[in-house]
């Protein structure tokens, strides 16, 4: 399928890119693996795109005990997996990046683009011809949601793989715009609104992702439900971070986040309470799994599994991710 007529712009620096975005009706293109399909489907038809990949020096990944992990806006999902510090300290990041789409998409797709992934819906990610059989939905500029009938808002599903992993690791993002820069918790990048899920102004870009240095005795893991072992977006994805203390491996703290569970990646609130101070075991994890199940609210907007099934799978995948996190936490 062909792209609509759009102009192609390049910027040499991030502020220059922000200035181009501020002109209006211009969208940022990094790897393009989310944006280009949306433009082919005509759900996005900007006047122009600005190719961020023309900006030099932004594909860095650095680690130090003082500053933790710093990831430039243009580092790819492949760069993230290949980085030695990330491999040693943040297995959840490697696991989640390796589960995005395909090798080709991981080579092209950026970490920042993955975090800024648009929400998805069966009724939205379709050609204009396909969509013309129904009235336009909220996300496509209309007044109706085809998934949750009579809803007053869009329920499209956030389906990025790396966001929950970054979230449990306590990541922040540095945002730059024409009016300056700010650092926000990753959670604040998400509006929770399916229609406009990324809480950035039109002229703002993610410049850097920051993850605190790995704490002693901590570990992380990510895994997801999908039909095929490649290509597919998550039907339910879970990331777990935990910290152990003492010889017996008592859980000091645990954080859980889900993707494909709502219109934003979501943290499971109060996950730590039930297991803190107890040794890690599947039995002691039961309440954390239950809290995750309650927090997930998948709707019928993706193909591959019914919402009740996907919701139940939150339990299973939280358990699997927790086992992965435990493996790292108890190894020195």
């Amino acid at each position: 399928m062909k792209l609509p007529r759009i102009d192609y712009l390049e910027a040499k620096t991030l502020p220059e890119a922000c200035a181009l975005l501020a002109q209006g009706d211009v969208l940022a293109c990094a790897g393009g693996t989310d944006l280009v399909p949306s433009m082919k489907h005509r759900v996005k038809a900007p006047r122009a795109v600005v190719n961020l990949k023309a900006i030099g020096g932004l594909d860095y990944i650095t680690y130090s005990e003082k500053d933790g992990l710093r990831i430039g806006a243009l580092a790819t999902l492949r760069d993230l997996q290949n980085n030695k510090s990330v491999q040693q300290k943040y297995p959840a990041l490697v696991q989640s990046a390796a589960m995005v789409g395909t090798i080709q998409l991981q080579n092209m797709g950026t970490v920042a683009g993955n975090l800024c992934l648009d929400t998805r819906c069966y009724y939205y990610n379709q050609s204009s011809f396909w969509r013309s059989a129904r009235p336009a939905c909220y996300k496509a500029g209309g007044e109706v949601c085809h998934v949750v009938k009579r809803s007053d808002h869009c329920w499209a599903c956030y389906s990025g793989d790396t966001a929950p992993a970054f979230m449990v690791l306590g990541a922040k993002v540095k945002v730059v715009g024409s009016k300056g820069e700010r650092v926000i918790a990753l959670k604040q990048l998400y509006s929770g609104d399916g229609q406009k899920p990324i809480a950035l102004a039109a002229d703002e870009l993610v410049a850097e992702i920051q993850v605190p240095a790995r704490a002693a005795g901590s570990g992380s893991g990510y895994t997801k439900l999908r039909i095929r072992k490649a290509i597919d977006f998550p039907l339910m994805g879970a990331a777990v971070w935990m910290q152990l203390e003492g010889k017996a491996g008592v859980v000091k703290d645990i954080r859980v986040a889900l993707t494909a569970a709502d219109s934003a990646p979501i943290e499971v609130p109060g996950a730590a309470k039930s297991i803190q101070g107890k040794p890690y075991s599947e039995e002691n994890l039961a309440e954390v799994m239950e809290a995750s199940y309650k927090k997930a609210r998948p709707v019928d907007c993706v193909i591959g599994g019914s919402p009740p099934y996907r919701k139940k799978m939150a339990r299973v995948f939280v358990k699997r991710a927790a086992n992965l996190a435990y493996q790292q936490a108890q190894a020195k």
Partner: protein
């Protein structure tokens, strides 16, 4: 809007006039006549359009042609040297890893990227490397066998 587009494909420089909304796949096929790369889905899911950009497997159907300027682009046409097939191509023929042939240029480019980086991959690494290349005909077994054979010089 048409503009001058400079691409380096298979070590040759090309300059053409192209609309700014063209994908790399469209320019390769329609402007440069390099029709080896195929359009299967056009949406990033099948891998039939796989080409190498600076040695890495990329999807030409999702790449804006203008964003590929300044990169070394390798397509299936660039693999044979003086009419002699690349070892992966040769093994593909000998192992019967081709039926209709539509997916072949794509997975061969994925396999080339793998073998250039890792000359002796495990079977799992081969499977992972081509997991973004769908084939409707062969059932994959012969494809995997042929890539491993090429890596072993068989």
């Amino acid at each position: 809007m048409k503009r001058a587009l400079k691409l380096t494909v298979n070590d040759e420089d090309y300059e053409v006039l192209a609309d700014t909304h063209r994908t790399l796949l469209e320019v390769l096929r329609d402007s440069l006549g390099l029709t080896g790369s195929k359009e299967g889905c056009g949406f990033g899911a099948c891998g039939a359009c796989t080409v190498l950009l600076d040695g890495k497997a990329n999807l030409a159907c999702l790449t804006l042609a203008f964003s590929a300027q300044g990169k070394q682009i390798t397509t299936i046409e660039g693999l044979a040297v003086n009419g002699k097939l690349h070892p992966i191509q040769d093994a593909a023929v000998r192992y019967g890893a081709i039926q209709c042939g539509f997916c072949t240029p794509g997975w061969i480019m994925s396999a080339k990227a793998l073998l250039d980086e890792k000359p002796k991959p495990t079977e799992l690494e081969v499977k992972t490397a081509i997991s973004g290349n769908l084939c409707r005909c062969t059932g994959y077994v012969k494809i995997i066998e042929s890539i491993i054979a090429a890596s072993e010089g068989k």
